[in-house]
């Protein structure tokens, strides 16, 4: 875990005037490390067809082979190339994570901000959110997937729906405590229009929590996909995702460790990158948070 021991130094700045990326790296190393890692993973995933080989090709007579020049990470229980599957798996896992986070954040902010501000709306919408949320993600996902059969789209929907209320609640509770603050009251008394107040004063204050939460949703989505695969209702077995690779190979850990470790380490690194990025962005977007580093 070299990533964790990497120097993550905060440099007290303000006077330094370095432009561009080096400056960002100095001031917000987490953004650069997390974001860079994530960007790298995305590029590797997108470029997969150029270098990774065929993730679907099976050879039952070459199952559970050790790593070789031909198959860098060896082969899985159906004789498929673990390296190719791990690289192609990044596409699915990242897609599930990013789309779920984006969906949950968009929906959640919209609902949360309005609910936090308008009490009438609040009561109705938050009860609907309660209803949605009160069904645990995993159970909802299992039920939805048993309705349609496994598929990536339904998986993303099943993960996003129950995450939306949690974002909206977080945003709402932040709005609830912000709206009583003097500067918001002052702005309203000063004749500012409501949408403008929401946009200028309330929304920005929710960004730190939102960033942390979005990172959590993204990471959680990737992990939920793994958990659902463990229960046998994740991504269809043919399509490689880290989750279904780990769970379908878990019996072979002793015989062919890479079948589990390759996707496992990728998954952990990705989740880590997302979390680091979330933390870094929090500092970046929230100038007030930096004052703590007196």
């Amino acid at each position: 875990m070299t990533l964790l021991s990497a120097p993550v130094e905060y440099v007290p700045t303000g006077r330094l005037r370095i432009s561009g990326l080096p400056r960002l790296a100095r001031r917000h190393p987490l953004v650069v490390i997390g974001g860079g890692l994530l960007a790298l993973l995305i590029v590797l995933a997108l470029a997969a067809p150029l270098y990774a080989g065929d993730p679907l090709n099976m050879d039952p007579f070459k199952r559970l082979q050790p790593p070789s020049a031909e198959m860098w990470f060896g082969s899985d229980n159906l004789g498929r190339d673990v390296f190719a599957r791990t690289i192609f798996g990044a596409r699915i896992s990242l897609m599930v994570g990013l789309l779920s986070a984006a969906g949950a954040a968009l929906g959640g902010v919209l609902i949360g901000v309005i609910a936090g501000y308008n009490r009438g709306f609040d009561n109705i919408v938050m009860r609907v959110m309660d209803g949605l949320m009160s069904i645990p993600t995993i159970l909802l996902a299992i039920a939805l997937i048993s309705l349609t059969g496994p598929g990536i789209a339904i998986l993303i929907v099943a993960i996003t729906i129950p995450q939306m209320p949690s974002v909206s609640r977080l945003v709402r509770s932040a709005v609830l405590s912000v709206r009583e603050r003097p500067y918001v009251e002052a702005a309203l008394c000063g004749g500012a229009r409501l949408p403008k107040v929401l946009w200028r004063h309330i929304l920005p204050s929710t960004i730190p929590s939102l960033m942390v939460q979005s990172a959590i949703v993204c990471a959680d989505a990737i992990l939920t996909e793994a958990g659902l695969s463990f229960l046998g209702v994740g991504v269809p077995p043919e399509i490689p995702s880290w989750g279904n690779m780990i769970s379908s190979s878990r019996l072979y850990l002793a015989i062919a460790p890479l079948t589990v470790f390759a996707p496992g380490i990728c998954l952990a690194v990705t989740v880590l990158a997302v979390n680091l990025l979330g933390d870094g962005l929090r500092d970046l977007f929230d100038p007030r948070a930096k004052r703590r580093r007196r």
Binding site: M133, L170, S173, L223, A226, L231, R292
Partner: protein, 313 residues
């Protein structure tokens, strides 16, 4: 306040009704036939058709729905298609392990998570913060079942200190009960400790950077007083929200943890029921779980007023 609670109770019923309709439709629209599951792998089509007819699965859906709601209002959650026993009885047999695991996990996660969060915020940017953040990030980056198998390998197979699997009811003695729950609780707690620690740290930092905290510091308030009297109280709303919200996720985690450690709880019950399309059990569990969840979050909402006097209902 009383009016607010009353209103929330009424809306709780509305939420439950919504969940009820949703769950009912979801299940009836899903492919999969309990009759075929009962009849067995090599059963003939006539055998399956006979069972369907007998179980009332051929009645129109509205008829089935009305029958279900009517029975439920009378306290009858139906009878398991498979086991032929009342759903409430089946659920109550499975409640103890699940409640034990959930409560232990909540206690462990909140205690450790909030402490870690405060500690990290207190020394933000320092070594302790970084170690704890690293732990929180790592604990959040590994799937629950991987942690579970790792712990089993380490503590049960290699070291023989703790049992691999199973559950012992608490009336067979506190010792055996606790011993069987240690590994599952640790497994399930790790992501929650990480989760709660992160949220606590983030909220604390936000409050600590407020102007009034600087004022307090300037006035010479001790760090203890700063952290616990001022900061924790103000950071309380997001922390409480998250703890309340964790409960649904907890049930999800319970499903996986119960599978890994073979704990005969509600999670296993409902997953098996979904695989078998045992509708009455799935409906019963989802209704009860969502009811419980709604009540917990009502309690959380009400507790906001205790933590943050600026919020009034």
């Amino acid at each position: 306040m009383a009016a607010y609670i009353l209103r929330r109770f009424v809306s709780t019923i509305a939420v439950m009704a919504m969940v009820g309709i949703f769950v009912f439709l979801l299940l009836r629209l899903a492919p999969g036939d309990p009759a075929a599951m009962i009849a067995g792998k090599s059963a003939t089509a006539e055998m399956i058709a006979g069972i369907r007819e007998k179980m009332g699965l051929n009645d129109p859906m509205p008829v089935q729905f009305i029958r279900w709601v009517r029975d439920m209002l009378g306290g009858d959650f139906g009878t398991s298609i498979f086991a032929g026993r009342p759903v409430l009885q089946l659920i109550s047999q499975r409640l103890e392990p699940t409640i034990s695991l959930s409560i232990l996990t909540m206690i462990v996660s909140v205690t450790i998570g909030v402490s870690f969060g405060i500690l990290a915020a207190w020394r933000a940017g320092g070594l302790v913060d970084r170690i704890l953040t690293a732990f929180a990030t790592l604990g959040f980056s590994v799937p629950v079942f991987v942690v579970g198998f790792f712990l089993i390998y380490l503590f049960a197979i290699t070291a023989h200190w703790l049992p691999v699997q199973g559950y012992k009811p608490i009336d067979h003695g506190f010792g055996p009960w606790l011993v069987h729950l240690i590994l599952p609780t640790v497994t399930l707690s790790i992501p929650y400790i990480a989760f709660i620690a992160r949220i606590t740290r983030a909220s604390m930092l936000e409050v600590l950077s407020e102007d009034y905290m600087r004022t307090a510091a300037a006035k010479g308030a001790s760090s203890y007083s700063m952290l616990f009297h001022h900061a924790l109280k103000n950071a309380g709303v997001p922390i409480l929200t998250v703890i309340g919200l964790s409960f649904a996720g907890l049930i999800g985690g319970v499903v996986i943890t119960e599978t890994v450690f073979n704990i005969p709880g509600v999670g296993r019950l409902v997953v098996d029921a979904i695989n078998n399309r045992d509708y009455p059990i799935i409906q019963g569990v989802l209704i009860l779980v969502s009811g419980l969840y709604v009540l917990i979050n009502l309690a959380v909402d009400l507790s906001y007023t205790l933590v943050d006097p600026r919020i009034r209902y």
